[in-house]
Amino acid sequence: MSSTAQELIPPEAREPGGGRIRRSKGGRVRRLTGRDKVVLSLMVGIPTLIELCLVWLPTLMSVGLSFSRWNGLDLADIRPAGTDNYQYITQDYPPFWPAVQHNLLWLLFLALIATPLGLLLAVLLDQNIRGSKIYQSIFFAPVMLSLALIGIIWQLFYQRDNGLLNFLLGTAGTPRAVDWFGDSSVNIWAAMIAATWRHAGYVMLLYLAGLKGVDPSLKEAAAIDGANSVQTFFRVVFPAMRPINIVIVVITIIESLRAFDVVYVINRGTNGLEMLSALVIQNLVGEGQVIGVGSALAVVLLVISLVPIVFYLSRTFGKENRA
């Protein structure tokens, strides 16, 4: 921030000759005029400020609140609590560990089933088949649907008495009908399939863009060298999409950590559908507000999310530095 502030000082006042082209220590030519610098620092500074106010400040405050007890009413009521809230969620709060397990299960399911499904759809639609655009729209549509609509659509599939799935299984209306959303041994799978339905479309779109970006001459060269289409894809095309692959890995991890909407629509994340994000909402929003506990849960989620984010950033910037 201090350097940004310095940049904001008009160049005339700072040092003579600031506007002229000159060489920095590294010998690289600097062609930025004073005005450029002002514009640039504004363009960098304002988003940084917004980010600080809206992301980092609340984050730090959450971390602080997670070590306190507060009823959310009067600032004077905040009392320090040490690590009590963390002890509470790990030892006394029954939904916590199931939620962690469900988040992991969600991650595995998205990584092993939903993402490969999206890739498969992308590869198929990249084959110049007729009506490719229509298929693309169909598969991408779920990503654009609102939460309420998704709830209704899947309700139609999964209902116990008159849902489509039980009808197809021939169990509708009988005592053997499976209660896909209410039975806690199956509802997490039902929810993950609903999530896959959205996630696959998203991944498909990203991979389609990636596939379009792969130089066709690579494929031709591979074909000339005698590779079949499977070999061409896995040995040549897929590695060539490395930047997209990294994005997809990060998206998959983040989607599984913030998985929220589908379970919240079904039953607000209770009865077999506990997820960390739903627990955070349960404890932070509304009348059942326990700010200390909710913040502690949010911090746990933050720490878990930081691992893949740091990994991703270090890979990206590490590569840039080497280049």
């Binding site: 006394d92 209704i152 309700q155 209410g182 806690s184 509304g286 507000q289």
Partner: protein, 445 residues
């Protein structure tokens, strides 16, 4: 509709709005109310953070009224009351209707920001908590004029932790076992007076191929009704209140006994409970798939066929160990005065007006599914069921408010809902863990 329907999922909300599609007139009226709300500038007051148009001392030209009764029927009912007040006194009432889930979820920031002068809320711990935090204005002067209109049980329910009065009851509705008279007559079932008789009856129904007790707990809160009743019948009303306020420990034999008793009933309750909402369970009762259903009298809203509605009756939860059937679970909805509204004499007048039989008759003329609380209200239009509901409440020595109104909301929402849902699944309850959670949550307040 009841304000605590927070658990309805999106789909069922959609269903509800589809079946009760507002008429053109309703829409126009809604738009009109919205426009009036904007004109009344409470939103602007909220933006500027200044004192609203109401903090003008004793003689104010009107008042603002925050309402969480956003469903069509109750909204029109409150509209009728405010219109009548304006017609009577010439004072303007500016109503701000907020969807009931939002209203409840934002109550903390609402009361600390620029609340309306009066607003709809509930009796019980949920009222006492905010009274204790000094966010409400006491209305003992109002109760001096309306006190004669209320029974002692209602007066007790309107009292804050400091012994001052805070709440004006509007209506309530009892919880009990609802059933279809024709089914019971056909099969020769009789109303059980004791818990043992209830079990015997349930076993008989099961033998007849009927699910004895309808049950729905997808939303989490309905199961609290069963817990409350067994608790009050086993340990008494005062224990219920003390347990809810965490003056009693959860980790004790008395609480374990509640769950032990309940587990004798579990095999008779609908095994599909966790996947259905109370609306689904109401349909099952209507279809005679279930024999009886423990819920608030609002269940009758689901029976749109008048023939079915006329066929519905209810009985109080049977007695178990103590106090017979003296306690009834009958959550009370009414009005509170915000701290800011306490300076507005007109707002106090409005509260007093709502405490009269006249105002409550105006309300129930539009929304007859509830029981007016003031003495002397017109009962001539009551259906036999309404009459019975009213008598049950009037005869009760103790009126409880339902677990999620009598207890800390965090305890009800974050602890009891998952705990009861897992109890329904496997019949086990770890009362030690309940106590550990209660300790942390109540300490945070």
């Amino acid at each position: 509709m009841r304000l605590f329907f927070k658990g309805e999922n999106m789909a069922s909300q959609f269903d509800a709005s589809a079946t009760a599609f507002p008429s053109r007139r309703t829409i126009l009226k809604t738009v009109g109310v919205g426009a009036a709300g904007l004109a009344g500038s409470p939103f602007l007051a909220a933006c500027t953070g200044g004192s609203g148009p109401t903090a003008t001392g004793s003689d104010s030209p009107g008042l603002t009224f925050g309402s969480g009764s956003s469903d069509d029927v109750p909204k029109r009912a409150y509209q009728a009351v405010t219109d009548a007040f304006t017609a009577k006194t010439g004072k303007k009432v500016t109503t701000n209707v907020v969807p009931h889930n939002d209203f409840q979820n934002k109550i903390n920031s609402y009361l600390q920001g620029s609340p309306d002068d009066t607003f709809t809320w509930f009796a019980g711990y949920r009222m006492q908590y905010y009274a204790g935090k000094g966010l409400l204005a006491p209305i003992d002067d109002v109760w001096e004029t309306i006190g004669g209109n209320y029974s002692d049980a209602l007066k007790k329910a309107s009292t804050g932790p400091d012994g001052k009065m805070y709440f004006v009851p509007n209506y309530n509705y009892p919880w009990g076992f609802f059933y279809r008279k024709s089914l019971w007559a056909e099969k020769g079932y009789e109303v059980p007076e004791t818990f043992d008789a209830l079990k015997t009856l349930a076993a008989k129904m099961q033998a007849d191929g009927i699910i004895p007790i309808g049950f729905a707990d997808k939303d989490g809160w309905p199961a609290m009704g069963t817990f409350d009743y067994i608790n009050m019948r086993l340990n008494g009303y005062q224990f219920h209140v003390d347990l809810c306020a965490h003056k009693e420990s959860w980790d004790q034999q008395k609480v374990s006994a509640v769950f032990d008793t309940w587990s004798a009933l579990l095999p008779f309750q609908d095994p599909a409970a966790l996947g259905q909402t109370w609306q689904d369970a109401a349909k099952a009762l209507e279809a005679k798939k279930t024999g009886m259903y423990l819920l608030g009298s609002f269940v009758t809203q689901q029976f749109t066929d008048p023939a079915v509605l006329a066929d519905i009756d209810f009985f109080a939860f049977p007695e178990i160990a103590v106090e017979g059937r003296d306690a009834v679970e009958a959550p009370i909805d009414g009005l509170l005065l915000s701290k800011k509204g306490g300076e507005n004499k007109t707002a106090r007048d409005f509260m007093a007006y709502l405490g009269t039989p006249e105002a409550q008759d105006t309300y129930s003329a539009v929304d007859p599914s509830n029981i007016a609380t003031a003495k002397g209200t017109d009962t001539s239009k009551f259906s036999p069921l309404n009459k019975k509901c009213a008598e049950t409440i009037a005869d009760a020595k103790f009126i409880s408010q339902f677990f999620d109104r009598d207890a800390l909301p965090a305890m009800a929402n974050n602890v009891m809902i998952p705990a009861l849902q897992s109890f329904i699944k496997d019949g086990k309850m770890d009362v030690k863990n309940l106590e550990a959670q209660a300790k942390t949550l109540y300490a945070a307040q």
